[in-house]
Amino acid sequence: MTDRITVEELAELMKKSAGVTVAPEELGLHNPGFDTLGVDSLGLLGIVGELENRYGTAMPPDAERSKTPRQFLDLVNSALMTGA
């Protein structure tokens, strides 16, 4: 499991863990803030937990403090690359 986490996977996790439905293209194009999207801090924590369980590796502590999906993806993907 060394694949990068994509906007598609993030969108799927946002729906599953935080109940927020958003098109992946929307995340890639406009990079709206998690607060604008309606993902609160516990929702983001749930997404981090789900990724850690899926990839079997710890995510950086700052991941759950990310303000935007792009910032989040940069952090978790760099951690996955390092881990691999």
């Binding site: 729906k15 863990s17 109940g19 749930g46 369980n53």
Partner: protein
């Protein structure tokens, strides 16, 4: 502070999600017709437990009422609360345009007997089945009995005084009283009430330890308070929320005052000490009458606690007589909850909704499945009774020993006095 009149707490909106209807209108229609909707327990994982009959809310679609991002982080009892709050706010004609301008003038007060049992069970199964890393973060808030107050305020943008009353089943009435006090102290609007969702496997198993729980399998026989066949109470889910606001502020914005929260008092007499509840309940009634400035003879109808345990029923009948004197044996008493079950903290809140609607329609809903009353009470059975109702008394007791009484005045009567 130069108000010409003291502030009075008025009910201007009612929202009900109950076993007999997921709107206030369907709830009232079913209650006044004396329809019993008690039925075999069908909730997943509960079918084979010794609790056979309950009041389930079956026509409620959470996803139609609540946004998904609020659904994933909340338990069923909070789904009921958010939906009932919406109905109450709609009834009071308080939408976002009206409340967004002054968010600090709107608060929330709820009561819950337990909390989010279904959500909690799911996450605890994750914990013991897969490990702590598989417990979702929303467990931290969803199963907490305070969840509904928080979620209603967040979802509707209310920033006024918010609180939760934890006082057993009578907490439902205590929450309304707390809301009334907040309004009298200066908050314009409080959204208040109680909802419960005790029909999930973990929650049901917890209740099996209550000696007062009815495990009778026949829905028509399972909950018959005040009769010699009384064999305990039947639990229910759902509840009601109200909009309580300062009467003057409500009238100024053209709102309809449905009733006034005129008086309340609460006492404590110990868990399952039903004989002692007589004194506690009578004392609560006297306190509520005193606060309302109401003579016993002014009470036009009593909505009874109606536990369905002979000793407790006797104590309640005697408490009514103790507190109301001779009027206690003449005043019409009713317990529409025998048709829908007893929703813990939500039970007396649903009775309050029924009492306000009864005063509005001049009609006392009956007590389904109850025929031969073995106490000195004028219990309304069979069919609804026409009556001019200006003042109603709602009674509530909890299995853990709380007793509470609430006096309601009809809106039209209150406004002219």
């Amino acid at each position: 502070m130069s108000e010409p009149h003291p502030r009075r707490a008025a009910i201007t909106g009612i929202g009900v999600v109950a076993p007999n209807g997921s709107t206030t209108e369907t709830f009232w229609k079913s209650a006044k017709e004396g329809i019993c909707v008690l039925d075999r327990v069908t909730r997943e994982g509960c079918e084979h437990l010794p609790l056979r009959v309950a009041g389930e809310v079956r026509d409620f679609d959470p996803s139609a009422a609540i946004e998904e991002r609020f659904l994933v982080q909340t338990d069923r009892f909070t789904h009921f609360a958010m939906a009932a709050a919406d109905l109450a706010l709609d009834d009071a004609r308080l939408g976002r345009p009206e409340t967004d301008g002054s968010p600090f003038s709107v608060g929330v007060v709820t009561a819950a007997g337990s909390g989010g049992g279904e959500f909690g069970q799911r996450e605890l199964q994750q914990l013991w089945g897969k490990g702590s890393r598989f417990v979702g973060p929303y467990q931290s808030i969803a199963w907490f009995y305070a969840a509904s107050t928080g979620q209603i305020s967040i979802r509707r943008g209310f920033k006024g005084p918010c609180s939760v009353v934890a006082s057993d089943e009578a907490g439902g009435l205590d929450a309304l009283a707390h809301a009334a006090r907040a309004v009298r102290r200066g908050t314009d609007v409080i959204v208040t009430g109680s909802t419960e969702a005790p029909l999930a496997p973990y929650s049901v198993v917890c209740q099996l330890g209550y000696a007062e729980l009815s495990t009778e399998a026949d829905p028509a026989r399972a909950y018959r308070p005040f009769t010699s066949a009384a064999c305990g109470f039947v639990p229910a889910e759902g509840g009601a929320m109200f909009v309580v606001e300062d009467e003057g502020t409500a009238l100024a914005r053209g709102a309809r005052v449905q009733a006034l929260l005129a008086g309340h008092a609460a006492t404590f007499t110990g868990a399952s000490r039903w004989e002692q509840s007589r004194e506690g309940l009578a004392h609560a009634v006297r306190g509520a009458l005193a606060e309302a400035g109401c003579a016993p003879e002014e009470i036009d109808v009593v909505f009874a606690d109606a536990l369905g345990v002979p000793e407790a029923d006797r104590a309640e009948a005697l408490a009514i007589a103790d507190a109301l004197g001779r009027h206690g044996t003449r005043v019409p008493v009713t317990a529409p909850k025998t048709g829908i079950g007893r929703g813990y903290g939500a039970a007396a809140v649903l009775d309050t909704a029924a009492a306000v609607l009864a005063m509005e329609h001049g009609l006392i809903p009956p007590t389904p499945n109850v025929y031969d009353v073995c106490h000195e009470l004028d219990l309304v059975t069979g069919r609804a009774r026409l009556a001019e109702l200006r003042t109603a008394l709602v009674l509530s007791r909890g299995l853990m020993g709380s007793n509470s009484a609430l006096v309601l005045r009809h809106g039209a009567t209150g406004a002219s006095s």
